[in-house]
């Protein structure tokens, strides 16, 4: 059920993190893989590892580059919107540029790619998998803009699912803390990195952060025929963060 031979799969943000982990699994399972990263340089290591995958560089904060990426990707069976940006900011420190960039990459880019790639996705009865966050479902201090962008992505997924059914499925995955460069950068920015690292783990019921591969497995499942009755779904893979607090 997870045989992707003959399937064209684009994973945005696949130079690293969750996107890279998902790309590895898609390739293992036979997909014709298209990698995406912000620049050719950023993408080079993933491209070297994941031959014969094709690499496409685009700055997803730029709508023109989003549309070019969609054009270059061509017809797809699976679109995974994994690219995202994250930086905590208190409400008072948010400015227009931070708002626009966060919304552009995390929300508008998935929309533009989904809409632009829709004709091919319809023809191939494809799947859109959006990677949101537990911050779409839970509020965190310093995460108002990031949370708004990811909450919007949950809504976008549902709206796509409703309107594209029964032809195209759309699924949203909400990871909790995952051991990625993005999370490590956040930890490094905090005044007490060791405490910050512990806090991420302690927020979960499982008492640890996820490996990217644990999220990637769900992405590949969502994109596969094994998940054929799933659409509009919002799946938390968060070690139990949204289920409750540790006693």
């Amino acid at each position: 059920m997870q045989d992707f031979r003959g399937k064209r799969v684009l994973v945005t943000g696949s130079a690293r993190g969750i996107g890279l982990a998902a790309a590895r699994l898609f390739l293992e399972r036979g997909a014709t893989l298209l990698l995406h990263g912000p620049t050719a340089d950023a993408l080079a290591p993933a491209l070297a590892e994941l031959a014969p995958a094709q690499g496409l560089a685009a700055d997803l904060a730029d709508r023109g580059q989003c549309r070019r990426l969609a054009f270059e990707a061509g017809e797809l069976d699976v679109l995974v919107n994994a690219a995202g940006i994250y930086e905590e900011r208190p409400i008072e420190a948010v400015d227009a540029a931070y708002w626009e960039k966060t919304l552009a990459v995390n929300l508008t880019a998935p929309w533009i790619l989904s809409a632009s790639l829709l004709p091919g996705l319809r023809r191939r009865k494809g799947v859109i998998v959006n990677i949101a966050s537990d911050a779409a479902l839970l509020g965190y201090p310093g995460c108002s803009v990031y949370g708004a962008s990811k909450g919007g992505l949950v809504g976008l997924t549902r709206a796509l699912a409703v309107e594209l059914a029964p032809t195209v499925r759309a699924i949203c995955i909400c990871p909790g803390p995952v051991d990625t460069e993005m999370m490590r950068a956040s930890i490094a920015r905090s005044p007490d990195p060791a405490a910050a690292r512990q806090q991420w783990a302690d927020n979960t019921l499982l008492g640890r952060v996820a490996a990217p591969r644990e999220i990637a497995e769900a992405i590949v499942f969502a994109a596969s025929p094994a998940a054929s009755f799933a659409t509009g779904s919002v799946w938390t893979l968060d070690g139990g963060v949204t289920a409750g607090k540790r006693g």
């Binding site: 409400i91 708002w99 929300l107 479902l137 509020g139 708004a148 990811k150 919007g152 309107e163």
Partner: protein, 256 residues
């Protein structure tokens, strides 16, 4: 008559020239609050003020919330009028139904800017005043922040974002004693609904579809949603923050 007393309190209501915003402004005013009314045009706000009878507890705060500087401009006018702020009601919204294929950048931006960006930057601009008053923010989201329908992708996206924003603001502002909640109305018998009905090309059929849309089998009266907004803004809700409160005739509860 409202069962809540807002005497001495100051509120800013965005999108208050008509529909739910007007109903909220009227209810707050009747309950004793001083109210700054925001809408896109000065003429629209003036007409709303006239309908409310004018007086010292009503002021205009016109600003176009589709513009980046609009929210701060609205808050500044409210502050200039009354010198304080206890309640910010982010009610203004754009809702134009459109299929995915014809949702262009302009349409997407208009919804994301008015329905999501403006509430954030209004809250940010109001923060010094709300910190001083230990006030409260009520974001008017929608049942479409909780689930989706077809042909409304930009609105559904923005309203889902607004609920996530509400939770994050609530958590961050809780230590300051500022409550932030979202009210999620179902379909209301407002001018906005009339616009949607008109745009659909068959208004009668549009309204007929809504007779069975909510399990309660009718549209909401804006006044009954406004009454709930007052409850959320009042001390009766003093331990409520970060909540997404459905006022939707059962629409998100299940299928009838």
């Amino acid at each position: 008559m409202s069962s809540f007393d807002f005497s001495g309190k100051v509120a800013l209501v965005t999108g208050a020239a008509r529909g739910l915003g007007f109903a909220i402004a009227r209810a707050l005013h009747e309950a004793g609050a001083s109210v700054a009314l925001n809408d896109r045009t000065a003429a629209g706000v003036e007409a709303a003020l006239a309908r409310l009878g004018g007086g010292p507890r009503l002021r205009a705060a016109p600003a176009d919330l589709a513009l980046a500087e609009g929210p701060a401009h609205a808050v500044a006018q409210g502050e200039a009028a009354f010198g304080r702020l206890d309640i910010l009601v982010n009610n203004a919204a754009v809702n134009i139904e459109r299929p995915i294929e014809t949702t262009d950048d302009e349409h997407w931006d208009l919804h994301l800017d008015v329905d999501l960006r403006a509430p954030f930057f209004a809250a940010q601009a109001a923060l010094p005043l709300l910190r001083a008053s230990r006030g409260s923010i009520v974001n008017i989201a929608s049942e479409l922040g909780l689930h989706a329908v077809a042909c409304n992708v930009a609105y559904v996206t923005a309203k889902h974002g607004l609920l996530a924003l509400t939770r994050a603001l609530a958590v961050e502002l809780a230590p300051a004693g500022i409550r932030v909640n979202a009210v999620c109305p179902g379909a209301m018998d407002t001018e906005l609904m009339a616009d949607c009905a008109e745009a659909s090309g068959d208004p009668a059929a549009y309204y007929q579809a809504f007779e069975t849309y909510h399990p309660m089998g009718r549209l909401a009266d804006p006044a009954e949603v406004a009454a709930f907004v007052l409850a959320v803004a009042s001390p009766a809700a003093s331990f409520v923050t970060g909540a997404a409160l459905a006022v939707d005739g059962g629409s998100t509860a299940g299928r009838g």
